[in-house]
Symmetry: C5
Subunit: 87 residues, 5 copies
């Protein structure tokens, strides 16, 4: 499971039907790489989260029919660590 900081919601009017109405978030690493994840937990911008990928991402979304490959699995209570960043 990977660690990211939530950047913002993603506005995406035109998308495949298989994403249903899942909330989408833009996440980023300390090095600035951005990815998109579905969010079943309601993570706000600025918080640190970890994600689950692969087929588990669909189960984690709470509905296997949602066609995601990355889902936020939890909000980390005390991140970043002292003396270190994301990576």
């Amino acid at each position: 499971m990977e660690i990211f900081q939530v950047e913002s919601a993603l506005v995406c009017t035109r998308r495949i039907a298989g994403l249903n109405q899942a909330a989408l978030r833009v996440l980023r690493t300390a090095s600035g790489r951005r990815v998109v994840a579905t969010d079943p937990v309601g993570a706000r911008p600025g918080t640190y989260v970890f994600t689950v990928s692969g087929s588990a991402a669909r189960y984690a979304q709470g509905d296997y029919a949602v066609l995601t490959d990355l889902t936020i699995a939890g909000i980390i209570d005390d991140w970043p660590r002292s003396g270190g960043g994301l990576e």
Copy 2:
């Protein structure tokens, strides 16, 4: 889910039967790495998209029999962000 910019269609006369007639797109990151994805949404060159990978890519294509591992899942409305690129 990864974020890419659509570069062009991919011309590929000789391919496996399992891709059927799926439209193929060349996508690229800001750093210039290129990948190939199937496109069920009709994304034009220059637009920013996000993709779904793994077995979900086959469902996202709308036909599980299409042998893709990367499918365009949506067109992003307002990318790139101010003050930042793809990565």
Copy 3:
């Protein structure tokens, strides 16, 4: 299977139901990249472990219903090697 050093437990009050009560560990590579894994073996901070990913991670956790994509599979007896680090 990847090799990591265990850094600490992960405190995460708010998480998806699918992780049940699985113990979570923050792992890191020599280069400092951090990931999160479920831990069925009870690995202490400082020890070196290897992990299994993908759908095998769920079986390795001992309960396929646990929605992890990375599980500690074993504790390495004699790591790091003389003359070399993690990577």
Copy 4:
């Protein structure tokens, strides 16, 4: 799906039974990284191809029992692009 240039056939006398008699190719990126793929299309050295990974690779090989994780899915007609290499 990733883009590679075919380098050569791979000579491998001793291999698992699960690969059957599938043809193996060494592929490389512009940066020189090499991988091995099964080849159901008969790609010659020097040509540019794209590959499919994961479980789709087994279907793409034409026989799900072949234990590959990377299969050549098509030969690209007009690669490399003007003004750019593989990556």
Copy 5:
């Protein structure tokens, strides 16, 4: 499928039951990154091998119940290539 050089056996007294008695090998790339794989072919240190990942790794091990995500699939006859290393 990835290419690695076998470095050594892995001593791991404490591991999950799902690995059974599978032989474990430490593999490394030319750049020095190390991973762990199960070995059904009996590859000796110093030889070059290629590996299969994902769910195919479990089939390649000869027993789907073995919880590996990386299995040695073959020993390469004539590696490294003249004029080039692993990557």
